[in-house]
Subunit: 358 residues, 4 copies
């Protein structure tokens, strides 16, 4: 795609620095603030009995939280992945790595990903881009490489049309993505029967998408809706010429808010749903579970913490778990199954959205 | 509970000072502003005929107002309780005392509560925490002690999961609270047949709670919903370390707004309902009665007034009564029974809430 | 009522000065802004053909506008009434005078009211307070005096519970107002068969009121809803002691917004409806007619103009007529009957109001 | 009409200068922001396959965009028309000219319109005012003159009651506009069978209008709703006397927002609909197509660009096309037909509007 490896590395570093220092989040929200959990004045449970464990993709998690896949492919990425791995190992959580394409193309970079396995046996999720199966004609062999590279427990295939269209170097062909069905099926038959996750990168999936993903036999959908990291905003900070800036601004609020996307997807999809995109507290996590998710994913706050050290990652994640447990105490849910059944109210724009689409 | 009596006394004083000097109220409202009473242009009544009397828990009140239980257990508390008692006696209203646990544990403190009986024969309501019946294995004997201590006309059992979870020294076990059914029943059989009230402390009860409280045979529910004093805010002012502050902020708006909680409870509970939490005018009181309450409770404004003297408490309560009477005149209600039947409109978020939950 | 005539005169002058110089209008609106007339891009009419004439209470009006009754009883009132009379005569509109009680009690003041007949033969409406028929035991003879005093074409009986309750000297008995039925019927039989109008003074009538007024056989209802002049605000400016101020503030927004009151009344009342309270443009008038009124009334802006001279009153009223005609042109209504059938949209809080009450 | 040609020319120039330098747009919006297209996370198409072509009025357009008719009749107008013609020729789009009345009245001005044919063979739409067929008794011969003047592919007949009523020199008779049916039919029989478009100038058409326009056999409706250029605002800037200013302010927000007008019209009209009035991006265009339009029209931004040169017009239009294509990519629409079927959500006031009117 006419860009040198070096240019891509520079771009990835720029992304990380922008995420660290600038406001790269949507102006619009996840709409999770339109979900209100109902306080239980009698509670009826013992805080110390609360259990947050779940089982996901064959592995146990001490709480329904994974770190969303973010990076790999250069020195800083290696450090970030290491810090995240140490933290999730410490806490019994799971994590994803960033797109493994860099190491597929250049084996020298493999250690920037598989470093995670030096620090944890917990759930680790691999990451490849859907678009490359089309434009680069990838097949099950590439998947095998990616899985083996990090001994992945599951594979995330990311769909990122907005990101591709706004990047000067983007791949713009998502036609015939249903060919993923055969590729995944072949992989599972020839190699390992691990779960495959369809993942957005911050714009969410619609109901229509979920039907397509269901037909491709994806085992899980990782929502990654709008309200958290905005790729249009990241690019807006990078781009210099005024015309492209002006154009980007039009799409800075594009995307399905996370809460809306969760309702869209769960209306047609019965398998695992991961609530993600703009998850910023244990209260957000409790709301996602209550409205239908099995687990949540967090990216940006963990990236920031990981740049300070693995203990910082532990701190952030511990806070989320604590908040989740307090929320569970206040709605009287002793475990995640009970939290899934807790009553809630939907208000404002989210209510409008649901009533018109579902 | 590894806290010394001294530490608890200091904490209670801190609470009073914070309530006196700082903004300790919810950012969100009671939603009573979403209730609109309908003006009656023809009125049809004589202002001088308006009667605000009610009968509550076997005692007459000149207006449907009680001072919610707040304090006891130290010198300032004694002064506060005395001032409130003198005022309610003067006006023919009722009052509650704060949690009597301090005097259950330490009999030296009894006079800080029973001082009220030196000043009034009116309705006085005792106060114990539901959680202590579980964690401290309290039984009907403790209730007896509390009742006799102040010759209580009724007993409030407070449920305060949020308060407990955010206090470093909190009791966190509300499991098996239905054992209160037997304890209360035993008490009534062995000692006195007085009414028992389930009381929140500022987060309100849900419909689900009300069903449980009904099964425990509570004679009344004291709503104490969100919109007035916020315990998370009080604690936020006390706490020093940044991490706990950050966590508390997430729950500063937790709770069911008073008006919503009233609708929740009355949808399943047919006994006495006291509207409380953020009641700040006679207009609020008129609205509570119109939407289904039998009486209202006020805490914070009375605490503040009581620190200035009993005449100040009288002044505040008199203003509420006057406003209540004007509201009754303007909706054409000659007495509380008619006020209960006055038409009203529910708008905004409260309307949403009701339509989704009830 | 222990107030001397002098004190009452001073109070009336104070009212006029406050209305002239201060903001005495509601913070809340008439809700007419929640009514949207639908633009007709094709119009379909000739502007010069537009006719705004109506017939009201046996007299012709060149446009559906009357000046609401405001004053009488002192020298400035006489000047005001004269200026209004000259202006409505010039334009072919109608007017009311203020409460005639002053002149009933003291015949010396009659000329401050009947001055209007020196300047116009147009529609003139008399004005008495409903409350006086109860507290002062007025009967049909008093009505006769009032009618003859100004050769009234119709009589307005004003209902003003809020005004009475907030004035230190207020009459507070609206009990048995249905006795007005017999008094009015007696008057019509013994004296003249002129129409009687039930009139508010800025808080509007409810549906329940309208049923009562219908039973009293009122020939018309003059809405005078909330959104324009607020009597609580006027009093707030006059009163000095802090406690009364605090109390008045609670009721400063009390009342049924004009648009809501119109919908309330028309839902049960089939006779003449006058839209009034906060009418401030010809567009407001067009909206009132479209949602069900036969005519509109304006007070405050005319009071202000009348203090400058009768030409100023003409100017203000001419502007209203011009705006009304433009609105009619833009919705394609050639006359008031067509304007009554023009489509409109109801939004926001007014929509909520209607859906819950009607 | 007692205005000299010179005065009219000066007024037209004033309009252009005010549009160039001042804020002449509505305070209220098109309500297109209440339309939300649904992101397709899987996209499913190849960006490079996207086709935006449409056929309109017998001509091909490379994208569903025309420049709305604006000017003619003086030297600057000629320059403007030339620049727009060069730009639409370059890009394969269409355009309209401004009202041709000036050149009907004075043949010397013809070249200020027909200059466009020196620069493009693309779709060019003529423009005459509906009101003149009534007040000036125009007939099919006038249409013939206008068509031949610019070899028009289609004729727009503009309806502008607001504009006429607020201009001191306005024509105020829209009565019997259905006589246009015969005139147009005669024209088509005697001269050329080209399509006729009913066009507003910024206040939109209602459902009732659309029924009338359908009966007149208009082949297309050009919405030109509220939210973009506001003629009341333009006049407000021109007018000097305070009274007229005050009156104009009342109507500054008059009109049907573009999105609402599109829904109104399409509910009763099955022919070509052009979405216009406040179209300011390719995203707006995508929304108009999704909710039912065949093409969009843009005026003000093109006027501004044309005053800088034709390349600037190209730039603006190219940006719109690019944004439209990105939106199509993100909703997975390969062509305009697919875009017409893309799902969307309607929220806020637009939702209210539709639910009450349609
Ligand atoms: C620096 C950075 C790099 C990312 N790289 C990838 C990636 O390679 N593959 C992927 O699927 N998502 C990637 N993401 C997207 C995240 O997984 C996630 O979908 C998105 O950031 C929204 O979540 P958040 O709001 O919690 O940040 C990246 C996000 C960030 C912030
Ligand atoms: C200083 C203070 C102490 C309180 N102590 C108690 C208590 O001991 N027991 C209890 O049931 N509620 C207690 N409360 C809660 C009040 O009864 C009431 O539920 C709460 O303040 C909400 O009402 P408000 O908004 O009118 O203040 C206390 C409140 C305050 C302000
Ligand atoms: C100075 C003043 C005096 C008034 N006096 C009377 C009165 O004597 N009788 C009456 O029925 N209404 C009286 N009104 C009320 C008006 O008729 C009208 O109901 C009210 O002002 C609301 O209309 P507005 O918003 O157009 O002012 C008075 C209003 C004003 C401003
Ligand atoms: C300077 C100017 C002149 C216009 N002249 C005409 C005209 O002669 N005939 C017509 O039908 N519309 C005319 N219009 C109206 C436009 O065609 C269009 O309906 C209106 O500007 C709303 O679109 P916009 O918001 O994109 O500007 C004119 C608009 C402008 C800005």
């Amino acid at each position: 795609m006419g860009y040198s490896k070096n240019e891509i590395e520079v771009r990835k570093l720029e992304h990380i620095l922008l995420c660290k220092y600038c406001n790269v989040e949507y102006d619009k929200t996840t709409l999770l603030e339109d979900v209100e959990l109902i306080h239980r004045g009698t509670s009826g449970i013992n805080f110390n009995d609360i259990e947050t464990e779940i089982k996901l993709f064959g592995k146990k998690l001490s709480a329904p939280i994974i770190v969303s896949g973010m990076t790999g492919g250069h020195t800083i990425a290696k450090e970030i992945n290491k810090n995240i791995a140490k933290a999730v190992d410490e806490l019994g959580l799971g994590m994803g790595v960033g797109s493994q394409r860099a190491a597929i193309v250049n084996e020298d970079l493999i250690d920037t990903y598989n470093i995670v396995r030096s620090y944890t046996d917990n759930l680790v999720i691999g990451n490849l881009g859907a678009v490359n199966f089309i434009v680069d004609n990838w097949d099950e062999e590439i998947i095998d490489k990616a899985v083996e590279m990090i001994d992945a427990d599951a594979m995330a295939i990311h769909f990122n049309p907005l990101q591709e269209i706004i990047q000067p170097e983007g791949d713009l062909n998502f036609k015939n993505i249903d060919k993923l069905k055969e590729i995944i099926s072949n992989y599972k038959k020839k190699y390992k029967d691990i779960p495959f996750i369809a993942k957005q990168v911050g714009e969410g999936f619609s109901k229509e998408d979920a039907i397509i993903l269901k037909n491709i036999d994806f085992d899980a959908i990782d929502i990654q809706g709008s309200g958290g990291t905005s790729w249009a905003k990241v690019e807006l900070l990078r781009i210099k010429d005024d015309e492209t800036k002006d154009l980007l601004k039009k799409f800075v609020n594009w995307g399905i808010p996370t809460a809306a996307s969760i309702f869209e997807v769960k209306s047609v999809y019965n398998n695992i749903i991961i609530g993600s995109g703009g998850i910023r507290s244990g209260l957000d996590i409790a709301k996602c579970i209550a409205i239908g998710c099995d687990c949540c994913g967090v990216a940006l706050p963990i990236l920031k913490a990981s740049l300070k050290g693995w203990e910082e990652v532990v701190k952030v994640l511990e806070k989320y778990i604590k908040e989740l447990k307090i929320a569970m105490f206040l709605v009287g849910a002793e475990n995640i199954e009970e939290l899934k059944k807790t009553p809630y109210i939907v208000k404002g724009y989210l209510k409008d959205w649901i009533s018109q689409r579902l």
